[in-house]
């Protein structure tokens, strides 16, 4: 099953975009674009989604945007927070590909999209990404 995450996505009912991303539509109608990156070992898939731009994140933080992200990692399940090179708040999850079922894949995806959507809306008041 390694590397066949696109097949898994299809079986889970998602359509993979040409840019190795999936657009997840949530119950409330908002959408979240999830991007994928296969790790070198090809055993783990990193799925990530943008939550907030640098300027939006800055308005919510006391000091460091990194620490804003890391302080949220204690409470979160499956989804972690980090800041990318452009200062954006990113939600990410690591999906073990070995023997992964399409149901599990779907759960990872929906959870990532749900959590990112929640934080995005709260921080920006918008559904941007």
């Amino acid at each position: 099953m390694r590397g066949d995450w696109k097949e898994l996505a299809k079986r889970a009912g998602y359509r993979v975009d040409s840019s190795d991303s999936i657009t997840v539509t949530l119950d409330g109608g908002s959408v979240q674009v999830v991007r994928f990156r296969l790790e070198e070992t090809e055993q783990v898939l990193r799925a990530s989604s943008i939550i907030a731009r640098r300027s939006v994140l800055a308005a919510a933080t006391n000091d460091s945007s990194y620490r804003y992200a890391w302080e949220r990692n204690r409470l979160s399940d499956l989804v972690g927070f980090t800041v990318d090179g452009r200062g954006r708040l990113i939600g990410e999850t690591w999906i073990p590909l070995d023997e992964l079922t399409s149901e599990e894949f779907g759960l990872y995806l929906s959870e990532l999209a749900r959590v990112c959507d929640w934080h995005e809306f709260r921080l920006s008041g918008e559904d941007t990404f």
Binding site: E39, Q43, V44, R46, V56, A59, A60, T61, N62, S64, Y66, R67, W70, E71, R72, N73, R74, L75, S76, D77, L78, G80, F81, T82, W94, P96, D98, E99, L100, T101, E103, E104, L107, Y108, E111, W118, H119, F121, R122, L123, S124, G125, E126
Partner: protein, 1174 residues
């Protein structure tokens, strides 16, 4: 007939998940009650599924909390992502809900389904205690997928306080909704509170189920003015009303609540519209407009309410009869408190004169223009006291305005205006007549030199003082904070008189008589001095060490028998301390002699019996025990104190007996394992420690008690069945209870008298040697207890207190100290020491709930009387040993009166036990007594008449067959009441039948299989077992289960070590394995973002920081998690997760902290991380 909807369930389905008989409410729920709770939970579940709103209005004390939690559990089991918020009225009840949810999940939920109940019995979803609105916004935005427990007082949103405080609050909220225009939260602008609430709404997730406890507090509904500002803030926060005009500014503002479950035993006061108000506040009034349609008659309203609300009536068994509340309560509406339905009248001419004077003043006052011959019920101070109310400059602690139990500065500030705060008093609550009464009282004191008599107060003090003789507990509610102090003080003085008389009668000889008189004089002088200034309230002792005892001037008991006691005196307090000390003359008195217990012989036969069962000579027994005792005592045995010495010899003997292969051997080994946690100090010691004959034959209170079967049965009943470890555990718990009660409660008075009479002096050090040689004190104590049992069967004494405790042991433990049930025996003395410390015969409570007093009041013994404001009207259970409630200060609303009585009218109450026992007399004295003390010839009668009418009206509205309610006005007109036709205001005594019962259709639904079975749960445990083994195979050391759902260990990474914990959690009902590896604490100035970033990027491993403002540091850990899918993949996934987390953590620790800390260093940090993760 409505067809069951797919989402509905039936009772059989619910029964598979829930077992209400398994220990709710202190483990005293009968099968019938459990069935009623189950059907209630199902009915509410189905109503919520059908119409998104339901109201549980069972009578007080029937376990509404558990029924609601049952509904919550059912909804969550079938929909694991269910988001819940619980709204409690104030902080102590908020805490109680959190505690009850944990208890409920642990005991009542049958299946570890990872939805409601995690492995090991914890709630599967984390709980959050919310302390303010900003807190709510912050917590919800950080992680909305937790259960939020909020309190109503947080919605008061005070705007008093320093600008800096308000600005801080504004900035904190803006961090959760940074896109909001900041000027909308400017406290100086109109609409600040509304906007603030709307902003919080924007930070909230949708809540699938809101549980509103004591929902009658919201009966005023949605008003944007005056006293209901709190309701408005609540309504806006939860989006109960649409705000089209502000949508652009408050993006996402909407109704957050999907379903709402209201709870209250008194859902309305006088009209059904109040139900509509409650629904409307949360945006659920659509479709329920008939509730506010005044054109409908009573029956038409009821028909609507039946769709919304269920109410069951409480019933108690008395012989063959089932009694409803109207029958098992006895109301004293006549005003008297000594003879039922007799009025209370001034007893002396002075009292009559005082009453006449006050009534004249009150009449003049009410006749003035402002009052127009009317007053608000409950707000005439003279009904409670004539004591002068002091001004702000002389405020005593008890005069600090009462805040209905609010516990935070934020809460406390709300109810006062800035002017009130500045003046230090709160005029609204002082009463309309306060100034007039103050003038009168001052004149009386000045002219006659004494306090003005208050016949009502004097009468109640005289009546309540009987409790010191009978032991009957009484709960007294007052309106004024100052009345708590005044009543408490007068009752303490009565108690002192009785105690002085007892000591004078019991202490023998001129020396003792003279010495005790000296002590009494000293105490009275100190008391007079203390009460002249600020009264030494017991609440102040909260500043002392947590497990410490402290003397106080409140009563002679608190002064002479508690804490250190007076200097240089062999006081009760010093004896109590000696009973606790390991080295005193009495250090072994309250121990057990386990060897005699195992062998079943008296102390004089113990050596011989050991020789017999071991098959050796008595001399050999002595030698071997002494050799073994030496090993327990170690090298410094010469300085080891007496209790330790006794235990060493006991352990030595049990060690020898433990070699036997029979019952004696097995029991001895169990005692050694569970009771004697002291290890052998030095295995190599090969000498004898003299003293076997003495310490194996030591006569303790408990070894002697075993020889008196009748007393034993009453005071220390032994469990006959079950395995020996369980029997031993209970036996030890009971022994520790008796020991602690003797040291800290009323029995210490008896012990003091016995010892003082033996020593013939209470001068410290007078006869220390004699004291050490006192023979058989234990026997004398038991003789006294036996005398009390035989000669004083109906009196309050040590025997009664200890026997009551023994007879109701399980109820007491489960309600007051459930931790004891699973606790190591070594922890028991500490837990009980805290629970039973600082006892006092009379307790008062105002301002803040004192949890220790509450616990002690629901145990036998002190306090016998609890005087409280309405602080205690909700939330705290006080029913186990009290069945008398005094409405000394009357409350206006039936709901308030009902809530007050509800404290003692609950499942498992003293009334229930008494009515159901063989010793029930069948007289009205067996009933729950409710008193309304008032003077017959005062305007208070008018007040009471209106209150009775309201009580009856409420009963009529909620029950069938009692007629039709009449309308009324809200204030009392002296002119009108005086000429109004006298209506029947007697208490309703006919059986009650609820108008809103659970009907069969409500519990009709689909028979659904549980989403997770017990077998599935068992398999999950096996999967974690396998992962535990895997961790060891990966090279981790010390791998073990810390709890059922938690594995801990230390991974060995080449030359370094890294602690970790594995937790089995759940996400939407799916198992998730989380790995946490702590790094430690890094000061903020040393923290380097770039350095941390450079070490991240490893799959699964995320950096988790916790800001510690106090130490200006971050607690740092690496965490990660992975879904557990098909079982065959578990080990592969777990391995990858563990490796990623521990290697990243170790690397970061090495670079950031330049160290390699082990579990010993990081265990506290790991526990903290795990607590958050759970």
């Amino acid at each position: 007939m409505r067809r069951p909807l797919p989402e509905r369930i039936d009772v059989a389905t619910a029964r598979e998940l829930l077992d209400f008989a398994a220990g709710a409410a202190g483990g005293v729920v009968s099968t019938a009650v459990a069935e009623e709770q189950l059907s209630g939970a199902v009915a509410l579940h189905n109503m919520l599924q059908d119409q998104n709103v339901a109201y549980l209005a069972d009578e007080v004390g029937m376990g509404k909390t558990y029924v609601a939690l049952g509904t919550m559990a059912l909804l969550r089991h079938f929909r694991p992502e269910l988001r819940v918020m619980v709204l409690a009225p104030k902080e102590n009840i908020q805490n109680k809900w959190m505690k009850e949810w944990r208890n409920f999940v642990s005991r009542i939920v049958r299946v570890e389904d990872l939805r409601v109940k995690g492995l090991g019995g914890h709630p599967a979803r984390a709980l959050v205690k919310v302390n303010s609105l900003v807190d709510l916004a912050t917590e919800a935005s950080n992680d909305p997928d937790r259960d939020f427990f909020v309190r109503l007082t947080s919605f008061s949103l005070p705007i008093v306080g320093a600008d800096a405080t308000l600005d801080k609050r504004r900035k904190s909220l803006l961090r959760t909704v940074p896109w909001l225009q900041s000027d909308l939260l400017d406290a100086r602008k109109e609409g600040y509170k509304r906007n603030f609430a709307r902003a919080v709404n924007c930070a909230l997730p949708d809540i699938d189920l809101l549980i509103v406890d004591e929902a009658h507090n919201l009966k005023a509904g949605w008003k944007e003015r005056s006293s209901s500002v709190r309701n408005m803030v609540l309504g806006c926060t939860l989006g109960g009303r649409h705000i089209a005009e502000d949508t652009a500014q408050f993006k996402g503002y909407r109704r957050r609540i999907k379903k709402v479950l209201f709870l209250s035993a008194t859902p309305i006061e006088y009209e059904m519209r109040q139900l509509w108000n409650q629904l409307d506040l949360f945006g659920f009034s659509a479709g329920w407009d008939e509730l506010r349609d005044a054109s409908l008659d009573h029956e038409q309203h009821r028909a609507v309410v039946r769709r919304l609300l269920i109410r069951r009536t409480a019933e108690l068994s008395s012989g063959d009869r089932r009694l409803t509340k109207s029958e098992y309560r006895r109301e004293w509406r006549g005003g008297g408190i000594a003879t039922h339905d007799e009025p209370l009248r001034p007893a002396t001419d002075r009292q009559r004169l005082a009453v006449a004077l006050v009534q004249k003043k009150v009449a003049e006052l009410l006749g003035s223009g402002v009052h127009n011959h009317s007053f608000q019920v409950g707000l005439l101070a003279s009904f409670e006291s004539f004591l002068e109310t002091v001004k702000s400059t002389k405020l005593r602690p008890s005069d600090v305005p009462e805040e209905e139990g609010e516990d935070t500065a934020e809460d406390a500030a709300f109810h006062r205006t800035p002017e009130e705060i500045a003046s230090g008093r709160e005029s609204r609550r002082d009463g309309a007549d306060i100034d007039a009464i103050n003038t009168l009282a001052k004149d009386h004191l000045k002219t006659l030199g004494t306090e003005m008599p208050h016949p009502k107060m004097d009468a109640i003090v005289a009546e309540l003082a009987q409790s010191f003789v009978t032991g009957r507990k009484a709960l007294v509610f007052v309106r004024r904070v100052a009345s708590v102090d005044e009543l408490q003080r007068k009752l303490e003085e009565k108690y002192d008189e009785l105690l002085f008389a007892r000591l004078r009668a019991a202490l023998r000889g001129a020396t003792l008589q003279s010495q005790i008189e000296t002590q009494i004089k000293t105490y009275l002088a100190e008391r007079a001095e203390a009460r002249h200034g600020i009264r030494a309230r017991d609440e102040f002792r909260n500043t002392v060490a947590e497990d410490g005892e402290q003397s106080s001037i409140d009563s002679f008991f608190a002064w002479f028998f508690r804490g250190k006691g007076p200097d240089g005196v062999r006081s009760g307090a010093s004896i109590a301390l000696d009973l606790e000390k390991a080295s005193s003359a009495y250090s072994t008195l309250l121990e057990d002699n386990y060897v005699t217990a195992v062998l079943g012989v008296s102390t004089d036969r113990v050596i011989a019996e050991m020789a017999r069962v071991l098959g050796i000579s008595e001399a050999d027994v002595v030698t071997r025990v002494e050799r073994q005792a030496a090993r327990y005592l170690g090298a410094k045995s010469a300085v080891v104190r007496s209790r330790v010495r006794m235990r060493a010899f006991q352990a030595g003997a049990l060690y020898l007996l433990g070699a036997l292969e029979d019952r004696v051997g097995a029991d001895a080994r169990t005692i050694l394992r569970d009771v004697f946690v002291i290890p052998i100090r030095d295995e190599r010691i090969d000498r004898v420690e003299k003293g076997a004959e003495q310490w194996l034959a030591e006569r303790t209170l408990f070894s002697e008690l075993r020889l008196r079967p009748v007393l034993l049965k009453h005071l220390w009943p032994q469990r006959a069945t079950g395995d020996f470890a369980a029997i031993l555990h209970e036996c030890e718990l009971r022994r520790e209870f008796v020991s602690t009660m003797i040291r800290k409660g009323h029995p210490i008075i008896d012990i003091f008298i016995l010892i003082a009479n033996r020593l013939e002096s209470i001068r410290k050090g007078a006869r220390e040697i004699a004291e050490m040689e006192l023979p058989n004190l234990a026997g004398e104590i038991l003789d006294e207890l036996e005398r009390q049992r035989v000669e004083e069967p109906a009196q309050f004494n040590s025997f009664q207190e200890l026997a009551e405790n023994a007879a109701n042991f399980h109820l007491i433990v489960q309600l007051n100290a459930p931790d004891l049930l699973g606790a190591d025996l070594s922890r028991v003395p500490t837990i009980l020491g805290k629970t039973l410390r600082a006892q006092r015969p009379v307790a008062g409570m105002a301002g803040k709930v004192n949890g220790e007093v509450v616990k002690q009041f629901r145990m036998p013994g002190y306090p016998l009387i609890l005087v409280t404001t309405d602080l205690l009207k909700e939330g705290e259970d006080l029913h186990t040993f009290c069945s008398s409630v005094y409405h000394y200060g009357i409350a206006w609303m039936p709901s308030e009166l009902e809530q007050r009585v509800g404290r003692v009218d609950r499942v498992g109450s003293q009334t229930e036990r008494r009515l159901g026992s063989d010793t029930a007399t069948g007289s009205d004295n067996d009933l729950l007594q409710v008193y309304y003390p008032h003077l017959n010839d005062t305007v208070e009668v008018l007040q009471l008449r209106r209150v009775y009418e309201r009580l009856n009206r409420f009963m009529v509205m909620m029950h069938e067959g009692l007629g039709t309610p009449r309308k009324e006005r809200a204030d009392v007109s002296v002119m009108e009441e005086g000429i109004r036709h006298v209506i029947d205001i007697q208490a309703i005594r006919t059986p009650l039948r609820s108008a809103f019962r659970v009907i069969p259709d409500m519990v009709k639904g689909a028979r659904r299989p549980l989403a997770v079975s017990a077998e599935d749960a068992a398999r999950m445990r096996e999967r974690l077992d396998a992962i535990e083994i895997l961790a060891s195979q990966m090279g981790a050391r010390g791998v073990h289960r810390k709890e059922t759902c938690q594995v801990v260990g230390e991974m060995i990474l080449e030359s370094r070590v890294q602690p970790f914990a594995l937790l089995l959690r759940s996400l939407r009902g799916r198992p998730v394995l989380r790995c946490v590896s702590p790094i430690g604490s890094v000061t903020m100035d040393r923290w380097d973002d770039d350095l941390a970033v450079s070490m991240l990027g490893v799959p699964y491993a995320r950096l988790a920081l916790e800001r510690n403002e106090r130490y200006e540091s971050y607690d740092v850990a690496i965490e990660g998690d992975v879904l557990l899918g098909p079982v065959e993949n578990d080990l592969e996934r777990a391995k990858a997760l563990i490796l990623a987390v521990v290697t990243t953590a170790d690397r970061m620790e090495k670079v950031l902290l330049e160290r390699d800390a082990s579990m010993a260093v990081l265990s506290a940090g790991l526990d903290a991380e795990v607590d958050v993760a759970r």
